[in-house]
């Protein structure tokens, strides 16, 4: 149970960072929309799970937040990437690509490829 949330949270965190990197400061709903648009199902039902992730990132210093006005002119919390967050994103992107490559190769390997 715990492991599953951790995996989900890890993936979500990376998506949040990437979103903020590409789109600049955004409120929670905006981030959720963006992730939904790109990843499809992941947040289709449980958009709420985003908020603990945002909090965790903020506590780690990867993102910062402040109050601002949303598009319907109400108070909303806007999140933006910090310098530290940008660095973290780079590192994690690289890690992710490496992991993905390894896993990819692993699944592509067929029995006859093995010595």
């Amino acid at each position: 149970m715990k492991q599953k949330t951790d995996v989900l949270q890890g993936t979500l965190a990376l998506m949040v960072l990437k979103t903020l990197d590409v789109l600049g400061p955004l409120h929670g709903y905006g981030i959720a929309r963006r992730i939904e648009q790109i990843s499809g199902d992941l947040l289709a039902v449980n958009q709420g799970t985003l908020y603990p992730v945002l909090l965790k990132l903020e506590q780690e210093g990867a993102i910062a937040s402040e109050w601002g006005a949303s598009e319907n002119n109400r108070r909303a919390r806007f999140y933006r990437l910090t310098k530290e967050g940008r660095k973290q994103l780079q590192v994690e992107t690289k890690d992710w690509e490496q992991t993905a490559a390894i896993i990819g190769r692993f699944f592509e390997a067929k029995a006859e490829d093995l010595p």
């Binding site: 449980n46 603990p52 909090l55 319907n72």
Partner: protein
């Protein structure tokens, strides 16, 4: 790093919980509003748009849980919750909580006070001096004369010959007569080496200290450093004190500086007011040759260890240096060795006595605290079992065992910390009370105890330890509960009383050890006041004089004493007058000296020693000590008689096997004396001491520059003689003050001061502990009885009489108590036999204390038992 930051943020968040909750609520509302707007644009109806938005967001409460878990620290929040809960629980039982907190506070307060004293002696032996725990006393030692001190020249040699010591300082304590003729005042000071203040690392409050070059050549630098208190009282703390002159022993000294506030010299607990260069000694003390004479061992040395050096290295180097000195100067140093000693092991002063006494006291008081803990554990356990149901509900709702334990723990810890806090406050009060202790004996004494961070830490550690000790049992008990069982059966299950009974026994056992110790101590203290000293102390006035500043020699000292006595005896209210070098029953003791006596051959190695006091003719008469044989000393001006000595009965019994002593020759103090009389035994060092062998010498043969005047009054009002005695001395020498004037009863009271402190502690704490034990037993038994209401009801219904029920309840509980008492009694007996192997067993204490304890315990059992036996059987059966 990241995890640290996150942790800190979480701690912070825990504190700002409310604002955070508000923020999340707002964010969720906004999120859902935006999603609803989006859905509306997609063409959904208002209600449906909102419903879909909510669905999409997911479970709000579950998410909030996650969010909270992420935000704060569960542990800390639980703890805060527990503490709040504990605060509520405690405020619901104010009586019980007060008993627990106050009893803990007293236990912790007493222990902290004693500890502050011990730690002062061990770790901060010199007030206002930092790093004094690295200082060592450097004590030359002779086989025959103990620790005689060091000579000035020897000190100069040792300064360079013990490399493990970065500095060695020398000091000599001297009583000065300060002021103009006719109104001099006795003030204690130290003659010190030039490096004294710099090596101690002190900074003057104002002015400067003695410079090394000011203690190089004899008698050239008439300067003085004064203590902070002296500056405040004599100069009103004015900076103009610098440069003024003080008339000291008839010489003008210039005040050059003021010592820091708490500095009281280097012979703690003595308190000194003046510091003068040692090279002023001949000028101030009438031309004595201390600076050139290697046999004049007047100085005490203190060495400061180099960083990293060990006391053992210093000891080895010191031994080598002393051996070399013995070869170079056989006249002065033959047979001399030396020891480096920590301050608490000082061969002079009461330190050694105090530290061993304090160690025992601390041990007893820790036992007392343990008994208090046992009592508290019992009270908490009894209370804990009434909360079975509450705990069972908590467990059933999903609280883990650890949560239950931590709930109980936090309650007890809160109690323990409240107790420790109050205890620390008691300790502050206690140490202040110690500090304002009166002057003891002829020397000004100040115990520089205070509650510092170290002592406070001790109080807190005690608090934590107590909390853990008395939490353990209830926490274990409640955490092991089976919720189903407790919920189903309610409060009528037979109680698991084993733990409580064992605890009750342990508590009573500890209490009996402490009570026996307290009773023994109080008994000996009371005896000490009532024991016959075997001399008549009523109606005797004591007062001291000191001619050390007056160029004294034997002839003038003898003549002075003779004339003083003549004048004193001529006063109308004086029945008898005498002078002695020592007063019995003094805190500092009477010296004992080695001797040989004609007709005694010592078989074992070492030397015979006896108490030695030098007195004028008439001394025995003034104190009412009968001469059993022979005669009193010859007149002070008699030049014909040979040197004389009087010994006491015990001397004759021990060293002469009771044979006739008169006329035998006695060698002591490098002189030959003839024994001319045998005096009755009396008390010398302590009241009620076993008989000690003693020798009296005559002032005629061994005149001294100082003396204690003993005056016996005719009228019985000895204090009224003070003014007349003062006048007599002033007529004889206007420069000499009469000091330390007191009646003999006052003298004894002051010297019992050190024993009175623990005596008072015990007098208060003993009954208190007894009361606590009674409360503990009462609580446990009433609880146990309340749980068995139904059983008792059944018995009564079947015809058991009330008294039978009472008897049975008492018997059940008294068993555990009696076993505990017996174990404690045995323990106390073993300790007592071990610590005081020679004194007879104090039967009244060893029988009385358990009797009282058991009587009180029986009463504490009887009260709740009687109440139980009076219940209406029908009501009891319907109970529940």
């Amino acid at each position: 790093m990241k995890s640290v930051k996150r942790f800190l943020t979480r701690v912070f968040n825990s504190a700002t919980r409310r604002a955070q909750e508000e923020r999340l609520r707002e964010e969720i509302a906004e999120h859902i509003a935006l999603q609803t707007a989006e859905n509306l644009r997609a063409g959904l109806s208002t209600i449906e748009a909102r419903r879909q938005a909510m669905l999409k967001f997911g479970g709000v409460e579950a998410m909030k849980e996650d969010y909270r878990a992420e935000r704060g620290i569960l542990f800390i929040e639980n703890l805060l919750g527990d503490l709040r809960n504990a605060g509520r629980t405690i405020s619901r039982m104010p009586g019980l909580a007060a008993v627990i907190i106050v009893s803990l506070a007293i236990g912790i307060g007493v222990n902290t006070t004693i500890f502050s004293w011990i730690q002062m002696i061990l770790f901060q032996p010199l007030p206002a001096v930092t790093g004094a725990s690295n200082f060592l006393l450097v004590e030359p030692r002779s086989d025959t004369a103990g620790y005689p001190g060091a000579s000035w020249l020897e000190y100069r040699d040792l300064q360079t010959q013990v490399p493990a010591l970065r500095d060695v300082v020398a000091s000599q304590m001297v009583p000065f007569n300060v002021g103009e003729p006719g109104k001099t005042e006795r003030t204690h000071g130290q003659l010190v080496s030039g490096n004294y203040f710099s090596a101690l690392g002190l900074k003057p409050a104002i002015g400067r200290f003695i410079r090394p070059e000011e203690a190089e050549r004899s008698g050239t630098e008439p300067v003085v450093v004064i203590s902070y208190d002296y500056w405040q009282t004599r100069f009103r703390g004015s900076p103009t004190a610098l440069g003024q002159t003080l008339r000291v022993n008839d010489r003008d000294l210039i005040v050059i500086g003021v010592a820091p506030r708490d500095f009281q010299g280097t012979m703690v607990p003595l308190k000194f007011e003046l510091w003068v260069p040692a090279t002023m000694t001949p000028a101030l003390l009438g031309g004595v040759r201390v600076l050139e004479d290697r046999t004049s061992r007047a100085f005490s040395l203190i060495g400061m260890l180099k960083p990293g050096a060990k006391p053992q290295e210093a000891q080895a180097e010191f031994t080598t240096a002393m051996a070399q000195l013995a070869r170079d100067y056989p006249d002065a140093s033959a047979g001399m060795g030396g020891e480096v000693l920590p301050f608490w092991d000082s061969p002079r002063g009461p330190q050694r006595l105090i530290i061993s006494g304090l160690a025992i006291l601390q041990g007893v008081m820790l036992l007392l605290l343990l008994a208090v803990c046992g009592n508290t554990a019992n009270l908490m356990l009894a209370r804990g079992s009434t909360r079975q149901r509450e705990m069972a509900v908590r467990v059933a709702l999903g609280a883990g065992r650890w949560r239950i334990a931590s709930l109980v723990l936090s309650e007890n810890m809160l109690l323990a910390f409240l107790g420790a806090g109050l205890g620390a406050a008691f300790a502050v009060w206690g140490t202040t009370a110690l500090r304002i202790a009166p002057i003891v004996g002829a020397f000004p004494i100040l115990f520089p105890t205070k509650v510092d961070a170290f002592t406070l830490a001790f109080a807190i550690v005690l608090g934590v330890a107590c909390g853990l000790i008395f939490s353990a049992a209830p926490a274990l008990y409640l955490a092991r509960l089976d919720p189903q069982d407790s919920l189903r059966s309610g409060p009528n299950t037979p109680p698991r009383s084993r733990a409580r009974k064992v605890l009750m026994g342990v508590e009573v056992g500890l209490a009996s050890v402490v009570l026996i110790a307290a009773a023994l101590f109080l008994d000996s203290f009371r005896n000490a006041r009532q024991t016959d000293p075997r001399f008549r102390l009523e109606g005797v006035l004591l007062a001291a004089y000191d001619r050390s500043g007056r160029n004294p020699d034997d002839a003038s000292d003898r003549e002075f004493a003779a004339r003083l006595l003549e004048r004193l005896r001529s006063l109308p209210d004086v029945e008898g007058a005498a002078i002695a070098t020592n007063v019995p029953l003094d805190l500092h003791g009477i010296p004992s000296r080695p001797f040989t006596v004609q007709g005694r051959v010592r078989t074992e190695p070492g030397q015979d020693r006896a108490i030695s006091n030098t007195v004028t003719p008439g001394y025995l008469n003034v104190l009412g000590i009968p001469l059993l044989e022979g005669t009193d000393f010859a007149d002070m001006r008699d030049k014909a008689a040979p040197p004389q000595a009087i010994v006491n009965e015990e001397f004759v019994r021990r060293y002469l096997n009771g044979a006739d002593a008169i006329g035998r020759s006695l060698q002591a103090r490098k002189q030959n004396f003839t024994i001319i009389g045998v005096a009755r035994n009396s008390a010398y060092d302590a009241l009620g001491e076993p008989p000690q062998p003693a020798m009296y010498f005559s002032y005629r043969d061994r005149p001294s520059y100082q003396g204690e005047i003993h005056l016996r009054t005719r009228s019985g009002n000895e204090a009224a003689l003070t003014a007349e005695a003062r006048g007599v001395l002033r007529e004889l020498d206007p420069m000499l003050p009469l000091y330390d004037v007191r009646t003999f009863s006052q003298h004894i009271d002051r010297n019992l001061y050190l024993r009175r402190i623990p005596a008072r502690m015990f007098a208060v704490l003993g009954p208190l502990l007894l009361g606590l034990a009674a409360v503990g037993i009462f609580a446990v038994v009433s609880y146990a009885v309340a749980r068995r209401t139904r059983e008792i009801g059944v018995r009564l219904a079947f015809g058991a009489t009330g008294s039978r029920v009472v008897l049975q309840i008492i018997r059940e509980n008294l068993g555990a108590i009696a076993r505990g008492t017996a174990v404690g009694w045995l323990l106390a007996l073993v300790i007592s036999l071990h610590a005081f192997p020679n004194s007879p067993l104090n039967l009244s204490v060893f029988l009385g204390v358990p009797t009282i304890l058991l009587a009180v315990a029986t009463l504490a059992c009887w009260l709740p038992a009687r109440r139980a036996s009076r219940i209406d059987p029908m009501a009891a059966l319907r109970h529940e």
